[in-house]
């Protein structure tokens, strides 16, 4: 039964390089500790070559001008670990989370699916590289042999069945002990290594060649286990991981960001990482949650405000409506985008997508448009981005199906239009169950291909058609429906009554709408919501007025509660 191991060498630095790929060409050292007692925790190969070693103080490391110093980040390490597991999970459902830098996976049965084992190993290597990780991949007949080979050999290693001892032989004994051991375990392993060193066993071949009985007498069962591992014959039962589908990426910033442009640059990087992770798991994003931690430094608020003003980020008080809903979720109150209250240091935006999508550029554009409309209002010190995974949409195209807008393009177009006219002024209509004028609301427009309706749905539609006096079938009647064009807001009119009927209408706002009433029909009394504070009662008249282009028909409304007259619209 073949196993594979994916190992990330120098994990702490690798996690940092994943977040900042431009550092790959530089000497990098990762610091840990509280200032001013920071020490070098890990270095990359280039930093090692110029004499930087773990344990040095920050002051010592700073003497080297070409060295890039970065603080250790738990967020980035957890992101890198999640990416490693995603990479492994994309090949096999049986994955063991051995350590933060190591994942072991069971390859049984995958050969027929993914071709021979070396091809699988190379694919793993490439996929990890796509996720921003430089890894070692090893494939062997046992999990332990694969683990040792991945720790010891760079790149891709495939150990044929029965050749484990031969191939693992040159590796140093240190590969048998993981990095993340506790102090006691570390001490024990050091003692063990020192003992073996005294015996002259400095690599796995030498350890494998030691007589078993003598080794057992001196080191006990622990010694025998080590020897079996060195020979590649030991194997442990794989403990498969049940990973939670959590897709989050975060970034802590050393210096606060005050402009949206550099923020977009960082968001792009996070989005690409997220999309890559979703792609390897064959998933798409249904929702994106952006959380920004803001820096309201109480002592430096004036300075900070000046900085914000000068560099173009509007203040929080300049935002049009703090509780304004985004176009994405405007009709879903429980999912509202919410804006943090004053002086709270978290700013959250949620972009709910109508369909599962996986396009980092599209997400970035949508976030940019959203942040332009709702700026954070303070310098940003931490970015956290989470994606709600969902199965990618599957649609069967048809030659004879009418064209429909591409969902990704449409989403971007709608966001841009919402930026022009306002979020609540674009969408599709939904009539409300009321006779009140303007009894409708705007819904989010989703261009989804027609789906077969269930029998219940069809019955519901038929019932609705029967019950609603407004719904008539033009295809059946073969005639057009006279439409009303509304004036929003209704035009206030001065009406002269003759025998309690309108005889002269004068509308100050619109010169066309005035004159003697040539013809009238009405009044039609309507009222409603009398049990509520927003009660309404009105009389409607259909009137004809002469204007310069001929006769035009209008709807004249008398508000019975307020007493005012309005021209509500024109029949067209």
């Amino acid at each position: 039964m073949p196993f594979a191991c994916i190992y990330v060498p120098n994990f702490v630095v690798a996690a940092r390089l994943r977040a900042e790929p431009e550092l790959r060409t530089q000497a990098v050292a990762v610091l840990e500790g509280k200032p001013p007692l920071e020490k070098v925790w890990a270095v990359n190969e280039k930093a090692g070559r110029i004499g930087i070693a773990p344990g040095m103080t920050k002051a010592q490391a700073q003497l080297c001008w070409e060295l890039a110093l970065r603080p250790r980040s738990d967020l980035q390490e957890s992101g890198a670990h999640a990416a490693l597991l995603d990479c492994a999970q994309s090949f096999s459902p049986r994955v063991e989370d051995s350590a933060c830098d190591t994942a072991v996976l069971d390859l049984a049965g995958l050969e027929s699916l993914w071709r021979p084992l070396p091809t699988i190993a190379h694919r793993m290597f490439r996929r990890a590289a796509d996720l921003g990780l430089v890894v070692n991949v090893a494939v062997a007949a046992s999990a332990d042999a694969a683990l040792l080979a991945a720790r010891g050999f760079p790149g891709v290693t495939v150990i044929p069945l029965g050749k484990e001892a031969e191939q693992l032989g040159p590796l140093p004994l240190e590969v048998m002990f993981a990095d993340g051991l506790s102090d006691t375990q570390k001490e024990q392993s050091q003692q063990l290594l020192a003992t073996l060193d005294r015996w002259g066993a400095r690599n796995l071949r030498a350890l494998a060649a030691l007589p078993e009985v003598a080794l057992s007498e001196r080191l006990g069962q622990a010694g025998l286990r080590l020897q079996h591992r060195a020979r590649g014959t030991a194997s442990h039962t794989l403990v498969p991981l049940e990973p939670a589908l959590v897709f989050e990426e975060a970034m802590e910033l050393e210096h606060p960001i005050v402009l949206l442009e550099p923020l977009a640059f960082l968001l792009n990087r996070l989005l690409e990482q997220l999309c890559n992770r979703l792609a390897v798991r064959a998933l798409a994003a249904q929702e994106l949650r952006l959380t920004l931690e803001l820096d309201y430094r109480a002592g430096a608020s004036d300075e900070s405000d000046d900085l914000i003003e000068n560099r173009g980020i509007p203040r929080e008080s300049d935002a049009p409506h703090h509780e304004e809903k985004s176009g994405f979720v405007q009709n879903a109150p429980h999912n509202n985008q919410h804006f943090s209250s004053t002086r709270q240091n978290r700013f959250c935006r949620t972009l709910r997508l109508p369909l599962p999508m996986l396009d980092a550029k599209l997400f970035l554009k949508l976030l940019q448009l959203d942040l332009n409309a709702h700026p954070p209002g303070a310098p940003i010190v931490k970015i956290h981005l989470a994606a709600e995974p969902s199965r990618p949409r599957s649609a069967q195209g048809g030659l004879f199906r009418p064209p429909s807008p591409e969902p990704e393009k449409l989403e971007l177009t709608l966001a841009r239009i919402a930026g022009l006219v306002g979020e609540n002024k674009v969408g599709s209509l939904e009539l409300l169950d009321t006779y009140r004028r303007e009894g409708f609301r705007m819904r989010r427009f989703v261009a989804q291909a027609e789906q077969k309706k269930s029998a219940t749905g069809q019955k519901h539609d038929a019932d609705e058609k029967l019950n609603s006096p407004w719904l008539t079938d033009t295809a059946e009647t073969k005639s057009a429906i006279t439409a009303l064009r509304l004036f929003r807001p209704p035009l206030h009119a001065t009406v002269t009554l003759h025998d309690r009927q309108p005889a002269l209408v004068v509308c100050g706002k619109k010169k066309d709408v005035q004159g003697n009433v040539l013809w009238k029909a009405g009044p039609w009394h309507i009222s409603g919501d009398w049990w509520e504070r927003e009660a309404w009662a009105r009389e409607e008249w259909d009137i004809a007025l002469q204007n310069e282009n001929g006769v035009a028909l209008y709807r004249l409304v008398h508000d019975l509660l307020g007493g005012a007259w309005f021209v509500e619209g024109t029949y067209d």
Binding site: P403, R416, I417, L431, T477, A552, T570
Partner: protein, 285 residues
């Protein structure tokens, strides 16, 4: 016969640089656009339907039936399963009328342009000057409409994109540069989108493939009384003595004129049809 050379080969023989030149005799003829049902049979008889990939202008004064035709076209398109967009420059769409015309709302993207653009704010002093403000609002709305139309046509996939400029004053509507209409025409040409505009007077010039003018047959749109279910053709002056509560607006008789058609040399003509009010059918039923 063996020495016969095709005309393009002769070009090549004369000068190799002419190899890429297509002779006029071999230029492909642009196929006639597909025509779709406009929603009103009389209009289809007159024009053959609405052309896809072309700009169609519907113009006329208030109460001339422009909106009835627009809703009929939207209804027909949404019932065909197409997605439509309505760029409403004056925010004038009445949802009840659209429902009565059987427009499928889930397939209609309604964009309500107006004065409350988030990008435009007027000062109090500007608000005081109502005339100037009105002109500025019209310009603002026009700007919004054009930008939105650009975005929609770029996005693609819509069966119909309708621009409702019917309430814009003609001088403001005429300020749209001809280049903009050319751009719209070019954008819509390779697609199957019907680009429809509603306005008071034709404004797109030679960019439109079909121009229709509507006007109401004044005095012939009223019924005699609510008891007379069949509409009568009675002038207003003759029924002015009838009590107002005994009258009902049942239908408007509309005359449609084909002003220009660049499609298959359609002759100029006219046709009459009626648009009925929603309650007329309810009463008749």
């Amino acid at each position: 016969m063996g020495n016969f050379l095709h005309i393009s080969d002769r070009f090549t023989a004369i000068d190799p640089r002419l190899a890429g030149v297509t002779p006029a005799s071999r230029l492909s003829v642009r196929p006639a656009p597909e025509m779709v049902f406009s929603g009103i049979a009389a209009i289809d008889e007159l024009t053959g339907g609405l052309p896809r990939g072309c700009l169609t202008e519907i113009c006329g004064p208030a109460s001339s039936g422009r909106t009835a035709l627009l809703l009929a076209a939207l209804s027909a398109a949404t019932r065909r399963g197409e997605f439509c967009a309505l760029v409403d420059a004056s925010d004038a769409l009445d949802p009840q009328s659209a429902a009565a015309a059987s427009v499928q709302f889930e397939r209609l993207l309604w964009i309500r342009c107006g004065e409350s653009s988030p990008q435009k704010h007027f000062s109090t002093r500007q608000k005081a000057d109502s005339k100037r403000n009105e002109g500025r609002n019209a310009e603002n709305r026009l700007e919004q409409v054009l930008r939105i139309t650009d975005l929609l046509l770029e996005s693609g996939g819509f069966g119909m994109v309708a621009l409702d400029l019917a309430d814009l004053p003609p001088p403001a509507a005429r300020r749209i540069p001809l280049a903009t209409w050319f751009r719209f025409r070019r954008a819509v040409e390779p697609t199957s989108t019907v680009l429809l505009t509603l306005e008071q007077q034709p404004i797109a010039g030679s960019c439109s493939s079909l121009v229709m003018k509507l006007h109401a047959d004044s005095g012939c749109y009223l019924s005699k009384s609510p008891l007379a279910f069949s509409p009568g053709r009675i002038p207003i002056t003759e029924i002015s003595h009838v009590p107002s509560h005994a009258q009902l607006l049942e239908q408007i008789e509309i005359k449609a004129e084909l002003i220009r058609s660049r499609l298959e040399g359609k002759p100029v003509g006219s046709v009459a049809f009626a648009s009925r009010t929603a309650w007329a059918d309810v009463k008749a039923g």
